[in-house]
């Protein structure tokens, strides 16, 4: 007869097991899952989806059969003190069958897998080229001069964190890295691809509908690996042309005697050693050229020419929009995403809290090897943005200046 405590323990175990199982099932129902690889949004991701379902099903059936047989053997032939059965060795027919059957299953899986890999690696159908360069801990995205990407691109466009692409266009991403190995993955648009220093790897991206598709670095790359994110903004071709036109337009200096004008001076004095703003000139009318290669280990820092045309900053880790405004873009109907994104960041929508914290002390907000005293291996070059010890007035000026970069 079972004691009361035994029954209580068993029912407790059952309850815990049920709770864990239920939690696992409920977790699969998450609505806010922007990096869901089971929810493809383009033909490349769909190819992967069409492959992984049957493979998953085959693996599942095999797993169920194997586990069922193991469970049956464990229960049916468990030790009850019975005599040792007759021992036999060798069963050629069974052994051959158990060799051929898995081989056939693997061949059956390999054929569509190889076909899908070859189709995903075929870049002959791409219509637009975007270079992606990883470095600790952000992605630079540049569009070389080309005839592709809609009506063509007459001069390079350099941005970071957010890649803007036209819908229904197969975009060829040419990726590399400036320091360590990173990995580019937008789960809803294609598989992941390692970005390796000295090598150029390619991956195609295509989105059927306008939208924002999130991703993050998937190769451990150092201290702020978890804070190295990116987003692909897919918009209608007409909206994409408008975005390109904005990115290629001339620099507009702030109105004289404004806070933003003071911010321009502060930017030249404090930020322009690393950050490029195309068209910016100093007091003598000379172009201000950033030289991050002399300051930063990776040799690069985000181009801030059109900073507030983007929605995120610092490796796409923080939003430039307050939550209400961000929701207006992310939750917009598909045909309005492009227009909402092109509105940029208004003063009312600016997430000044995070931006000011970043300007106040960047390494305190995002872990980075930005202390030159600890950088013997890089000869004093920083990884990431250092603390510039800006005053609150300087931060006010810079926020006003950056807000006009759209």
């Amino acid at each position: 007869m079972e004691s009361a405590s035994t029954v209580t323990n068993m029912s407790r175990r059952v309850r815990i097991g049920l709770a864990v199982g239920l939690a696992a099932i409920v977790a699969g129902c998450a609505q806010d899952a922007p990096q869901d690889t089971w929810d493809p949004a383009g033909e490349n991701a769909q190819m992967i989806q069409d492959l992984q379902w049957p493979v998953f099903a085959i693996a599942g059936v095999v797993g169920v059969i194997v586990l069922s047989v193991v469970a049956f053997v464990i229960v049916r032939f468990r030790d009850r003190g019975q005599a040792m059965p007759e021992q036999t060795h060798g069963k050629p027919a069974l052994e051959i069958a158990l060799t051929i059957l898995p081989a056939l299953i693997l061949i059956g899986v390999a054929i569509p897998t190889v076909g899908t890999l070859m189709a995903l690696n075929d870049t002959s159908d791409t219509e637009c080229v975007v270079n992606v360069t990883g470095q600790q801990w952000w992605w630079e995205i540049d569009y070389p001069t080309q005839d592709g990407c809609g009506d063509g691109i007459s001069a390079p466009i350099v941005t970071s964190g957010q890649m803007v692409i036209p819908t229904d266009t197969n975009v060829l991403v040419r990726g590399t890295s400036r320091d360590v190995i990173h990995s580019w993955w937008i789960p809803r648009l294609n598989g992941k691809r390692d970005m390796v220093p000295g090598r150029v790897h390619t991956v195609k991206l295509q989105a059927d509908e306008p939208g924002i598709y999130a991703g993050q670095c998937t190769e451990f790359c150092g201290l702020s690996h978890a804070n190295m994110r990116m987003e692909v903004i897919a918009m209608e071709p007409a909206d994409f042309e408008a975005w390109k036109a904005k990115q290629l337009s001339d620099y507009q200096p702030p109105e004289p005697d404004t806070l933003a004008a003071a911010g321009e001076s502060t930017f030249i004095a404090q930020c322009s050693r690393c950050h490029q703003v195309d068209g910016l000139e100093d007091a003598d009318g000379e172009p201000v050229i950033a030289r991050p290669d002399l300051q930063v280990y990776s040799g690069a820092a985000p181009n801030l020419s059109w900073f507030t045309t983007r929605n995120t900053f610092a490796g796409a880790t923080w939003d430039l929009l307050i939550p209400e405004c961000r929701a207006e873009v992310w939750d917009a109907p598909s045909d309005e995403v492009g227009q909402k994104y092109l509105e940029g960041v208004s003063p009312e929508c600016l997430n000044s809290v995070d931006l000011r914290e970043w300007l106040r002390n960047a390494p305190a907000k995002k872990p980075m090897y930005a202390d030159p005293e600890q950088l013997e291996a890089t000869d004093g070059l920083v990884r990431g943005m250092p603390n510039l010890a800006l005053s609150e007035d300087q931060i006010d000026e810079l926020v006003a200046y950056l807000l006009e970069r759209q």
């Binding site: 870049t123 791409t126 219509e127 637009c128 080229v129 270079n131 360069t133 630079e140 540049d142 070389p144 001069t145 080309q146 005839d147 592709g148 001069a155 390079p156 466009i157 350099v158 060829l172 040419r174 590399t176 400036r178 220093p197 000295g198 090598r199 150029v200 390619t202 490029q276 195309d278 172009p287 050229i289 950033a290 030289r291 991050p292 290669d293 002399l294 990776s298 040799g299 690069a300 181009n303």
Partner: protein, 383 residues
């Protein structure tokens, strides 16, 4: 008194204590000493447990303990492993005060000798029958000895062979490789078609060949590798004042440079000098050849392949603005050019460009050009 296992553990603990003292008094740093002291403590505890349990044997008051006591067991057979173990311990101790390599070799020998000695001692307690004990030992040890021994043996042979090959001249390596390969094939055929050959004779020949190879490898390794000349680079000559990148003439670097292209993958762009004297380019992806400017990422290595389709030897040069050159009396701004060596008609050459400053940093920007061909000009844009 003490069982064999207990003796081994007690000896190991004493050795660890001696090593800790030797290391602690002769070497800087405490980590090694802490490690050795920790090992001594752990071994001492294990020795104590083993003495208490008498090698997991029966309790002393049981009859079987008398029957299976070491005194009742047959004397152990001859073994080389205690000596190997001692050699390892000696090398380890000597290594502590001499070279790290000796220390590591000592550890390896010590581990091998200890493991083999332990396995043999354990097997000799299996029964009073020596042949059965030997079989037990083989069953336990051979699955580890054979693959590890084979791997080590192959490694030694390959390493010795590589030393000999690097010692010989470039031409003689081909001859030697061919001759040795032919001899091995001929010997293998002989063995296969003449089963009557005595196995001892065959083994003897192989053993002599291996010993000769290892001896040759050791001698070649001591004598050093043959002189391998580095290819001249244009960069080195330019620093010596030669205006090589602006000249269509042939320089010493062009004579000695390799005309082969190694970087066939991960090419950022291919630039072609056409028969008409024009520079065209092609990049991976749908950027049409014939565009007026090539754009390359900043602060990143870009492999560019130059293909010469003209009817003369030509080089591809890149005008990268200016750079500061350090002089005795300060710095001077000098033109910054990089280039390939002269490329044969129909040939190709690789150049890797890393550009830190954007092209906007210089009024004239950056450009590719071919010395001696006025029409060959291509704008380089670095954002």
């Amino acid at each position: 008194m003490f069982t064999t296992g207990s003796k081994l553990l007690i000896g190991s603990a004493v050795l660890a204590v001696v090593s800790a003292i030797a290391y602690g008094t002769t070497q800087d740093g405490v980590m090694g000493t802490i490690g050795l002291v920790s090992a001594a403590i752990a071994l001492a505890v294990l020795a104590g447990v083993n003495v208490y349990t008498r090698d997991s044997n029966v309790w002393a008051d049981e009859i079987s303990s008398v029957e299976t006591a070491p005194a009742a067991a047959p004397a152990p057979g001859n073994s080389i492993w205690p000596m190997v173990f001692a050699v390892g311990a000696l090398a380890l101790t000597v290594g502590l005060v001499t070279y790290q390599a000796v220390f590591i070799i000592g550890i390896v020998i010590l581990l091998i000798g200890g493991a083999e000695w332990t396995a043999q001692a354990w097997a000799e307690r299996a029964s009073a029958e020596a042949s059965y004990n030997s079989e037990v030992r083989s069953r336990i040890a051979n699955p580890l000895e054979f693959p590890v021994g084979a791997a080590v043996g192959i490694g030694i042979v390959v390493y010795a062979f590589s030393r000999v090959m690097l010692w010989l001249s470039k031409t003689n390596t081909v001859v030697a490789f061919s001759v040795v390969g032919s001899i091995i094939i001929a010997f293998a055929f002989l063995v296969a078609y003449r089963p009557g050959l005595r196995s001892k004779a065959t083994a003897g020949v192989v053993a002599v060949a291996v010993v000769a190879l290892i001896a040759g490898g050791a001698a070649a390794g001591v004598d050093g590798e043959r002189e391998i000349k580095e290819h001249e680079t244009t960069a080195g000559l330019e620093e010596e004042g030669e205006e090589i990148c602006e000249s269509p003439e042939e320089f010493e670097a062009d004579e000695k440079a390799s005309q082969s292209v190694a970087a066939t993958a991960n090419v950022a762009a291919e630039i072609t000098l056409t028969e008409d004297g024009e520079l065209t380019f092609d990049v991976p992806g749908p950027v049409e050849a014939g565009a007026t400017a090539l754009s390359l990422p900043r602060s990143n290595p870009n492999n560019v392949i130059f293909i010469n389709e003209s009817s003369e030897h030509r080089r591809l040069s890149v005008d990268l603005g200016t750079r500061l050159e350090e002089l005795d009396e300060g710095e001077e701004e000098v033109p910054y050019r990089v280039c390939t060596t002269l490329v044969d008609e129909g040939g190709a050459q690789n150049i890797t460009l890393i550009v830190g400053a954007p092209s906007a940093a210089f009024p004239d920007g950056y450009s590719f050009f071919v010395p001696g061909v006025e029409s060959a000009h291509l704008e380089l844009v670095v954002p």
